[in-house]
């Protein structure tokens, strides 16, 4: 048998195999990974905490988009917005995309530095909590992709409630909260902590939101001086202060963390993201002693939910790599699997409703004594009323209202005076009616 090689045929065969393989690969690629056409460097600006949670699903993103290199630049929250504004003013140095909190979003939309994302995000309308589109939209166009919501609930300390003999599920309204506070006060424990002299108006805003109110109405006109709901919110704070069931302490300071860790506050009417702070550094040793019930309402059949915080990711106008940015946003924010992983990682609550169907949502959480708290927050998120707390002038409104609440807390003026003065200042400084 002639076994001498016949190079000509072998080469031809090899070439045929290679060609076939190449065609197959191309077919597979075009069928399964149409998105891998995006490539290049993607520059993202966010806060460190936001990156820490987004990174939880980066491995999957890299697998799907191997040609995209991620460049994460982390800032302190306040610096992030200042850097964006300065880069926009300078006309260069903006990232491709940036995380922006809902409270700052409208200001950036007004500034005109965000790219029009209407056609890209259109398919997600109806799949994301409706209220989340409000701050990132203007004149029928959408400039952002919503990320997380901040549904509020009442975190409570199981041992404190037990000692005072109060059944937490008996607390339905703020009146019930008040009565429970009077009992708990006898144990030498406060019901909640709110600084009078350094009040940041966030609790006031949550109380507005819960009633479907805000600083302004749908037309953008200032309403806090006329709206009875605003008066109800501030009067409630005053009532709690007056009865001495709220401890006066500067929030987000070491003594404040210590008050929480030491069980010197019975409840925290706060947003879902407080969970990550409690577990990680505020009170990790109190695991198992916390529970969550719905936020008390103002009236018997009133709303039991509000929003505090929340954020979104926007592509910048004139971004070098908008397609990679959109691929990133779609992968990280637009999928049930990635969003539930991110929620699991950091208590950043998905506004994407399909993520709520993940089995993880229904699992018991040992930090809350094996309560299924995520179900609670899903229920709370569904009920968040439409409200006008944030706007393009939110930073100013918040600062002016904080000052008036401080004066009210220090006994320098009445609740009505505080609301009237804040409204007057907001009107004269923002030119709103």
């Amino acid at each position: 048998m002639n076994v001498s090689p016949r190079p000509g045929r072998k080469v031809a065969l090899a070439a045929a195999v290679v060609a076939l393989l190449a065609a197959l690969v191309a077919a597979v690629a075009s069928a399964g990974q149409r998105h891998s056409t995006v490539s290049g460097t993607l520059t993202m600006w966010c806060t460190q905490a936001q990156f820490d949670s987004l990174k939880a699903v980066d491995a999957g993103f890299h697998k799907r988009y191997p040609d995209v290199q991620l460049k994460y630049v982390a800032f302190q929250p306040a610096d992030l917005y200042q850097k964006l504004q300065l880069a926009a003013a300078a006309g260069s140095g903006l990232p491709d995309a940036s995380c922006i909190e809902d409270s700052h979003l409208a200001q950036f939309v007004k500034l005109g530095i965000l790219a029009d994302m209407t056609s890209r995000v259109k398919p997600y309308e109806g799949k994301i909590l409706a209220y989340k589109w409000q701050e990132g939209s203007a004149n029928g166009k959408i400039y952002t992709m919503p990320w997380d919501a901040g549904p509020l609930a009442l975190f409570y300390r199981r041992s404190v409630f037990k000692k005072a003999g109060i059944n937490p599920s008996s607390i339905h309204t703020w009146n019930d909260f008040y009565s429970a506070g009077l009992k708990i006060k006898k144990q030498g424990v406060a019901m909640w902590i709110q600084s009078k002299a350094q009040n940041d108006a966030r609790f006031f805003e949550s109380l507005l939101w819960e009633q479907g109110s805000g600083y302004v109405n749908a037309k953008g006109n200032v309403t806090i001086d006329k709206d009875p709901r605003a008066r109800a919110a501030l009067n409630l704070m005053g009532k709690l202060w007056h009865a001495g069931i709220i401890s006066d302490q500067n929030e987000w300071t070491d003594p404040w963390y210590k008050t929480i860790a030491d069980g010197k506050t019975a409840t925290l009417p706060m947003a879902v993201w407080m969970g990550t702070f409690l577990k990680s550094f505020v009170a990790p040793k109190t695991s198992g002693d916390w529970g969550v019930i719905p936020l008390p309402s103002f009236t018997a059949n009133g709303s039991h939910s509000a929003n505090d915080g929340g954020s979104a990711i926007s592509i910048m106008k004139g971004a070098d790599n908008p397609d990679a940015a959109w691929a990133y946003i779609q992968y990280h924010l637009g999928r049930a699997d990635t969003q539930s992983t991110i929620y699991k990682q950091s208590d950043i609550f998905p506004a994407l409703e399909s993520a709520w169907r993940s089995p993880y949502i229904h699992q018991a959480d040992p930090y809350y004594g094996n309560q299924k708290v995520r179900d609670m927050f899903v229920a709370a998120a569904k009920q968040i009323p439409k409200a006008y707390v944030y706007s393009s002038d939110y930073q100013q409104m918040n600062a002016l209202m904080s000052t008036e609440i401080q004066k009210y807390g220090l006994g320098k003026e009445t609740a009505q005076q505080a609301l009237s003065n804040a409204a007057k200042e907001i009107r004269s400084r923002t030119g709103r009616h």
Partner: protein
């Protein structure tokens, strides 16, 4: 000012009289070029400062003046609104409160700080105190940390009403807790304390330098005439130190009105705007509210008022500066 910027006098070469008459004769175009060339190396060496000064100081100064007549949100076109920003500023209660706050803060800590700095400097200048270098370093050390976020945070912890060490110490000696950061007046005192802590050493150093420039013969002569140390301090040292004190107080005026980090971290300008300062207001209006033109107008009004105060203070305090006048 203009003279020093455009035609600095050479240090070593005296200007020939001919050049002066050249200017007078109107040879303005020809003359600078010739003179520039003659002193080209000198100009080359001083040029970097003036170039940087022009880019980072002169241009922004001019630009903010232009901006103060505009409505601008950092991005996009700036709309000319004439004097509207200045008119709004007249009715801006928070801005005027910030100016009042700065004035009150000045009265709270500057007299105490200047007096303490003077006393410490005199003590450290006397030959009776040992280990002078060690004491100077210890007193000066906080200055290295002054204006830092870390220092303000530390004070925040110390002054916390419930858990701070300041109140624990007061409790130990039987004094009821002080609302350091939660009362309108105490919060001003707290900011004043933080600034005093940070700047005492710096002021002491200025005073010390001033003291060392006073010829010792004067106090020796006074001593021979029978004056005691306290009389020497009030009749010789303080009068001779007046220009140095004026300098230190002028710096303190500017420093107090421009405070930022201390109130920003310690009190966030609160409670109820009691510790907000003009610079905090300028910052908030620029970066939080994006009212850039308005902040520019604020900066100019703020600048004018500081100049007015500093100049008034200068003439009030330094008018009887006879000793140095005679020496010149």
């Amino acid at each position: 000012m203009r003279g020093t910027l455009t035609s600095p006098q050479p240090l070593h070469e005296p200007t020939p009289p001919a050049a002066v008459s050249d200017t007078a004769a109107g040879g303005l175009v020809r003359f600078p070029a010739r003179r520039l060339w003659r002193h080209r190396y000198a100009y080359l060496f001083v040029a970097p400062f003036f170039i940087l000064f022009a880019i980072f100081f002169l241009y922004p100064i001019g630009f903010s003046f232009w901006l103060s007549f505009r409505d601008w949100s950092l991005v996009g076109p700036a709309r000319n609104i004439g004097l509207q920003n200045y008119r709004d500023l007249l009715h801006d209660q928070i801005f005027w409160q910030s100016m009042t706050n700065a004035g009150l803060l000045f009265l709270i800590y500057v007299p105490a700080m200047t007096f303490l700095a003077l006393v410490l400097a005199v003590l450290l200048n006397s030959r009776y105190v040992r280990l002078q270098g060690v004491f100077r370093t210890i007193i000066f050390l906080p200055y290295v940390m002054s204006g830092t976020v870390a220092a303000a945070f530390t004070f925040q912890l110390l002054l916390d009403q419930n858990a701070g060490y300041a109140n624990r110490l007061l409790h130990f000696i039987g004094v009821s807790p002080v609302p350091w950061l939660t009362d309108i007046w105490w919060s001003r005192v707290s900011v004043g304390l933080l600034v005093l802590w940070g700047w005492l050493g710096y002021n002491m150093l200025i005073m010390l330098a001033g003291l060392q420039a006073i010829p010792p013969e004067l106090s020796e002569a006074a001593r021979v005439d029978g004056a005691g140390p306290i009389r020497i301090f009030f009749k010789i040292t303080i009068p001779l130190l007046r220009p140095v004190i004026v300098f230190a107080v002028t710096l303190s005026i500017i420093g107090t009105f421009s405070l930022f980090t201390e109130p920003f971290i310690l009190t966030s300008g609160g409670p109820a705007n009691a510790t907000t300062t003009p610079v905090l207001q300028i910052w908030s209006n620029t970066f939080a509210y994006l009212r850039v033109g308005y902040s520019a107008a604020m900066s100019y009004v703020f600048f004018a008022i500081i100049v007015l105060i500093a100049v008034t203070q200068y003439f009030l305090v330094s008018r009887r500066d006879t000793y140095y006048e005679r020496r010149r």
